[in-house]
Symmetry: C2
Subunit: 304 residues, 2 copies
């Protein structure tokens, strides 16, 4: 099975600390790399974590607070200095294009690749990216400005051929892809062999959801059963009011979202700078949802 | 004597590495703090080096390449989040104001302090900042775009009173400042006591020059005798042609500038990402100008 990995580049919140970097993640699925959010300093984090710059072709920006997008111009500029020619696609609120175009024109003059902006309507749940194996959906979130999460899903995969059965029925090579897709096989003698005799279940289609920044909001239908949910947990329970005022979540609220949606694992992050360590946040989330991991810069989470 | 210190926040060049940060320095003179250049990640470097954000009121930007200014928006935004009320003054090419105004309006909405842009004409050597004890002059440099260095000078200081003489002539308190400024003292009996009998030489007025990015250029009249010269040394001798093409300097050329101007000490930086360590650059500069220091993140250089 191909790798499906989440690489944490930054999991701090708005105020800079030496403990955490601003929000950014790399989602690596097979040989594809997607970036989600790009706070200041993300390009250094990519270097530090040995992420290949040239494999990043799609960047998804949840919302236009600085700690989620101030690293973009540096990254775009560095791509240019490195001689990139492949187009770069950025998915974000329309305002980002307006803000970045003049900067790109000035700072990246003469670079040899185009940057395409794809405007997201953060109020809608819809597919915003699709290729032969992956879809990315926008997830409406509740923040102080238009903000959406992202749900990465593998498309349904082909079934596995059962080697012995393929040999027994002497199935010709040109038929095999269709059989993996689920059709039955008719022998030259006219016997119909049901697909279930020829194939085993496909590998499961894995999924990862990224929800930051947001007050708790009900996306449980959409998030149902995802393999890994990243949900912001800016505050501990003791700061519940502050969380509500600023449209952020407590760790316990993140855990409640994970419970409600029946996700397999929860990854928390976007820690307020007031916490020296995420221990209290992890503890409070685990009380409700034990399968919780606290994000940390450089961490790689595998989805199997 | 008050402190006069240069704090190196970043001394790398355009391409990000894990060894160096993008250009930024703090010049601390007494209780004043000036910033020169502000590459991406500078606010993290300030945190890492325990620099107080609230004492930074004046930022000088040498030129508009990203590695010298991409950290500004993050810093301005963080100042806002921290509740700053004191005005911030930014000295830079006029284009910066045009590029940053829309970003500040959008990302820093509702912040309680004003940002004033002071446009610099990089082709002119002139005083661009002045207060009761300091002047900052622009230094025309030779780069691929308008670019200037900065020369920080203490103003001439008052002479020191000689305690014994002051007591002997019973000089009244209200006269003392004027005597420190150099006037003679006339006793009630009409005797003129020359200033040289009453005072000792003032502390020397110290100076620091920042020259990055630039091909070697002749500012030796202006730089004559400065206490410390920061001069970019992007390349080693072996990359002399590349240096010329890109309007940068080799370490040896930086040393030649230091020799020509008769500065006291040379500080090199802005190292190309191709050098794992600045050793070769330091060696080549020292051959010509032994009083050379290689800048390093976190380094503090005192000017006595």
């Amino acid at each position: 099975m191909e790798n499906f990995e989440i690489h944490i580049m930054g999991c701090g919140s708005a105020l800079p600390t030496t403990r955490h970097c601003a929000s950014a993640q790399i989602i690596r699925i097979g040989n594809k790399q997607f970036m989600v959010d790009c706070g200041e300093g993300t390009q250094i984090q990519l270097r530090r974590n040995h992420i290949h710059f040239s494999f990043i072709n799609h960047i998804f920006i949840s919302h236009l607070h600085g700690d989620h997008c101030f690293g973009l111009i540096g990254l775009i500029s560095t791509f240019g200095l490195l001689g990139r020619t492949a187009p770069l696609h950025i998915y974000a609120d329309a305002k980002l294009e307006e803000l970045m175009k003049p900067q790109i024109e000035f700072f990246c003059k003469g670079m040899h690749y185009p940057v395409f902006f794809h405007n997201i309507d953060a109020t809608k749940h819809q597919i915003i990216y699709e290729d032969n194996t992956i879809t990315v959906e926008s997830l409406p979130l509740k923040h102080r400005m238009p903000c959406c999460g992202f749900l990465f899903r593998e498309k349904p995969k082909r079934r596995h051929l059962i080697g012995d059965a393929v040999n027994f029925y002497n199935i010709p090579a040109y038929m095999r892809q269709a059989i993996k897709d689920g059709i039955d096989y008719t022998t030259p003698e006219g016997e119909v062999v049901p697909n279930s005799k020829l194939t085993k279940d496909a590998d499961p289609s894995r999924s990862y959801a990224y929800c930051s920044d947001t007050a708790p909001c009900d996306n449980s239908e959409i998030l149902k059963g995802v393999d890994l949910l990243y949900h912001e947990a800016t505050f501990a329970d003791s700061e519940k009011e502050r969380a509500a005022q600023t449209f952020h979540s407590t760790a316990r609220q993140a855990a409640q979202v994970a419970c409600d949606a029946g996700v397999k694992r929860l990854l928390i992050g976007h820690y307020s700078s007031r916490y020296e360590t995420p221990d209290v946040l992890l503890k409070e989330a685990c009380e409700l949802f034990p399968e919780t991991i606290a994000a940390k810069e450089g961490m790689v989470i595998h989805i199997d």
